[in-house]
């Protein structure tokens, strides 16, 4: 019910709508809840609405941290 998935914004449409791509499948969704949305942004998509923008920098840092956490114990 609350599941939501990442999607890439590929085209902006009038009336706060946009076309997003989910693994190559495109869908028309509402972006009314996101400020200053741009083509190329990744968003969290839930019941046809973009709820949040995904921050690529934070995503990369989280992955780096995950790698370090696992690696630290591999050495002991």
């Amino acid at each position: 019910m609350c599941l939501a998935i990442p999607a890439e914004v590929i085209k902006l449409l009038p009336d706060d709508m946009a076309i997003v791509s989910i693994d190559g499948v495109s869908k028309e969704v509402s972006v009314a809840l996101i400020e200053e949305i741009a083509v190329g942004d990744y968003v969290i998509l839930h019941v046809g609405h973009a709820l949040a923008r995904i921050d690529p920098e934070e995503a990369r840092e989280t992955l780096d941290l995950l790698r370090q956490m696992g690696a630290a114990t591999a050495e002991v």
Binding site: L3, I5, P6, V29, H46, G48, A74
Partner: protein, 375 residues
């Protein structure tokens, strides 16, 4: 899928599992409640419990809005859908939720009620435009994640001046449910919460601060991919070991401290708190749900159709109330897998794929079987 697949990497998961084992003090038990059904689903689907040491246990919380919706509200929706002028729009998960005496929206539809499954709130608006001679009602349900899309829909209905459109509002709030669990007469031992991810994309991490500060419970907001969950569990273990109780944010790529300003504002302008709301399994909780503000009363289905509140007792054999409180597991219910299956759900925990019973039915029972064979 970008921003999903990377967070399912098996090698990294193995590394994290190792880190969890190294950090977990064998001399103590760690009991963490994952509040969200999405987390319950991820734990079951990726077999995360098998990667945790025996002294780290996950307790399934009540965070599935379908599972906590009481039978009385389903009965109210069925009565509404049976009015000839009404088209009721619902999210698909709701169709099989049991009302009283085995009723459901699915059965009402089979009997001829005009019930349409919609994917998005915008589909409901389109239906109202296409059916100007009928009354289109949207069955709104969900936590803080799903409320902003309902708000966008209400704005659209206003803008289009739709006179044949209303909302049956069942939106509920996560912090009061957490509070009810911590304050219940049969409190459960929890050492921390894995906090809701998508709820927090909207409301941020701050609403959980009281549970950390006043109740001494660490909260880590976590994404729904398996690596997110495992990192969050590791972060909780570290907090417990250090004697800290803070709100930490594992899901930084989508969640900020203060959340989505625009969404919060939209919701605040359109909805207000109900004094009380009945939750399946948790009973009546004060200030735990939303209704439309008086300025939007003309869009409120409960007013337009003079819907009266119905309270229905749950099936006494169903253990959902204890499961939603973290006191029991699905296998503790004697109906699990016999009278109650996803095809014939008795309780709501079996209906939604995020419910604890359905998740265990789909993914967990094979592991139980293998474990039995192994021992």
């Amino acid at each position: 899928m970008k921003y999903a697949d990377e967070f399912r990497d098996k090698e990294l998961a193995t590394g994290l599992a190792r880190a969890i084992r190294a950090k977990a003090d064998p001399g103590r038990a760690y009991r963490f409640m994952e509040f969200c059904g999405g987390h319950t689903h991820a734990i079951a689907r990726y077999g995360l419990e098998d990667m945790l040491p025996d002294n780290v246990r996950m307790i399934h919380g009540p965070g599935c809005p379908v599972c906590v919706l009481p039978a009385g509200r389903i009965d109210m929706a069925i009565a509404l859908a049976e009015r000839p002028e009404v088209i009721l729009c619902v999210y698909g998960d709701l169709m099989r939720v049991p009302g009283s005496r085995g009723s459901s929206l699915m059965k009402a539809k089979a009997r001829g009620a005009d019930i349409r499954m919609v994917y998005s709130t915008l589909d409901a608006i389109a239906l109202a435009e296409q059916n100007s001679g009928r009354e289109v009602v949207f069955f709104a349900i969900g936590f803080e994640t799903t409320t902003p899309p309902t708000a966008v829909m209400i704005r659209a209905a206003e803008k289009k001046q739709l006179s044949n459109f209303t909302v049956f509002c069942n939106h509920v709030l996560t912090p009061p449910a957490m509070r009810a669990i911590l304050d219940s007469d049969t409190p459960i031992e929890i050492d921390g919460f894995v906090g809701p991810a998508h709820v927090s994309t909207v409301i941020g991490t701050e609403p959980y601060a009281p549970f950390a500060r006043n109740d001494g419970k660490p909260v880590v907001i976590a994404g729904f991919e398996p690596l997110d969950m495992m990192q969050a569990i590791l972060m909780l273990i570290e907090q417990v070991n250090d004697g800290r109780h803070e709100v930490e944010n594992q899901y930084r790529r989508a969640v900020t401290g203060s959340g989505n300003r625009r969404a919060i504002q939209e919701v605040a302008e359109i909805f207000e708190l109900r004094d009380q709301f009945e939750w399946r399994g948790l009973g009546s909780i004060p200030a735990s749900a939303l209704k439309l503000r008086p300025a939007f009363a003309h869009l409120d289905a409960e007013l337009r159709f003079a819907m009266s509140e119905r309270v229905v007792a749950d099936n006494p054999a169903c253990e959902c109330p204890a499961i939603l409180r973290g006191l029991k597991k699905p296998v503790d219910c004697k109906l699990f897998g016999t009278a109650c299956t996803p095809e014939t759900p008795i309780g709501s925990c079996m209906v939604s794929s995020e419910g604890a019973c359905a998740a265990h039915w789909t993914y967990g029972r094979f592991r139980d079987h293998q474990r039995r064979l192994a021992s």
